[in-house]
Amino acid sequence: MDPQSIVTAAKLIGAGLAMIGAMGGGIGIGLSAHGAVQGIARNPDVAGQVQTNMILGIAFAEAVAIYCLVVALLILFVVK
């Protein structure tokens, strides 16, 4: 077994595992959309404001998933 291919395999597995963290971001985005839709359903007049805040909240929640992606990319491309 070539040691390099073991490292490569480990890298790929590691990158894949790192992306599990994106689940948290997904759940967060889902929750914020859930809250926003409920809010809009109860008070459609402030739909614009709610949407703006929802997009901001999604951006913050997404940041976590992005960190996972960054880690995955680092593992894939940076780690030798």
């Binding site: 997009i55 901001l56 999604i58 951006a59 940041a63 992005i66 960190y67 992606l69 960054v70 491309f77």
Partner: protein
């Protein structure tokens, strides 16, 4: 009844026929010119072999990379917008029409959003918000152009070998052995582009903070005063370390700004061309719609976060709530 059926058949003619033609054509294309997997790598690929500038050292050599081409494309589009606006302004016609009208409507919405958040600093913050929004939006939407990420040099690749030589611009029927190095790649998938924007955003936030509050603005970062003023003293020390954390928060902002944009767009484009490679019929069209939405949302998020941070920087005791939440 017959009328409705006729209408239905008309609809079928309108939608079904082009759809069928598209399916047939893409099927033929798939058969005769099978899609070539694009080369996936983080750094932008050089379009020309010769570097434009040979700087060396930490600067690195400046090649004409495919993301740089996309950046120039953005510049061209922006200049075109400026030209359209100038033309509209010179005509003195107040009726909004064409590209200028669309731009006006967009900017008006952005301006109103800025006004509600920034208050009296609207005039200062608005150009940043608007420019970030426009630049990022155009950068993201270059992804929707046909040919972006799909037309380029073909490189022969060996298994496990990173190096490659140019083969030529045309597709060849040798799947598996080649990868496409696109001539144009979405600028947002280049970390240089996103980090540059993030740096500008965060740096200008500090500039606006200083302009609004003067030197006391930096108290946010080095709250030495708190050690002596806040009683009991250990609370003041805690305050001081919290203020140090603000600096980390600013750095985290840069990373978060740049990697959010980069991550979304890189993931999007990878998904697009991997799907295009695997299922080259119709599937990409649906994903393109999603990418158009992601593109505008990311542009809006980039602009709005900039607006938020800038607006917070102008407030004497702001900066903590949002900055920390996001870091």
């Amino acid at each position: 009844m017959a009328d409705a059926q006729k209408k239905k058949s008309n609809k079928w003619k309108e939608i079904g026929l082009p759809l069928g033609i598209a399916v047939v054509l893409s099927g033929l294309g798939w058969y005769f010119f099978p899609p070539v997997m694009p080369h996936i790598q983080l750094p932008a690929e050089p379009v020309l072999e010769q570097p434009l500038l040979r700087l060396g050292g930490i600067w690195g050599d400046i090649y004409l990379t495919n993301t740089l081409v996309a950046t120039l494309l953005i510049d061209v589009v922006l200049l075109g917008l400026v030209w359209a606006v100038q033309k509209a302004a010179r005509s003195g016609d107040l009726i909004p029409r064409g590209i200028s009208g669309v731009l006006e409507a967009t900017l008006e919405a952005i301006y109103n959003l800025t006004e509600t958040t920034a208050g009296k600093w609207t005039e200062t913050i608005f150009p940043y918000f608007a420019t970030f929004f426009l630049v990022v939006l155009i950068a993201n939407w270059t992804e929707l152009l046909p040919g972006v990420d799909s037309i380029g040099w073909l490189h022969h690749v060996e298994e496990g070998v990173k190096g490659f030589g140019h083969v030529g611009p045309f597709l060849m029927k040798k799947p598996g052995d080649f990868q496409v190095m696109a001539w144009v790649r979405v600028a947002s998938t280049d970390l240089n582009f996103t980090i540059a924007l993030a740096l500008v955003s965060v740096f200008m936030t500090q500039v606006i903070g200083v302009r609004a509050l003067g030197l006391p603005y930096f108290k946010k970062f080095f709250n030495i005063e708190a050690i002596f003023k806040v009683k009991p003293m250990y609370m003041g020390v805690i305050d001081f370390f919290v203020s140090i954390l603000e600096i980390i928060s600013e750095v985290a902002k840069i990373i978060s700004f740049s990697f959010r944009l980069f991550g979304n767009l890189f993931a999007g484009s990878v998904m697009l061309f991997v799907l295009g490679y695997l299922v080259p019929i119709l599937l990409q069209s649906g994903v393109l719609l999603l990418e158009a939405f992601v593109g505008i949302v990311q542009a809006l998020v980039f602009g709005m976060l900039t607006l938020m941070f800038m607006a917070l920087a102008t407030h004497p005791h702001g900066g903590e709530e949002h900055g920390e939440a996001h870091a």
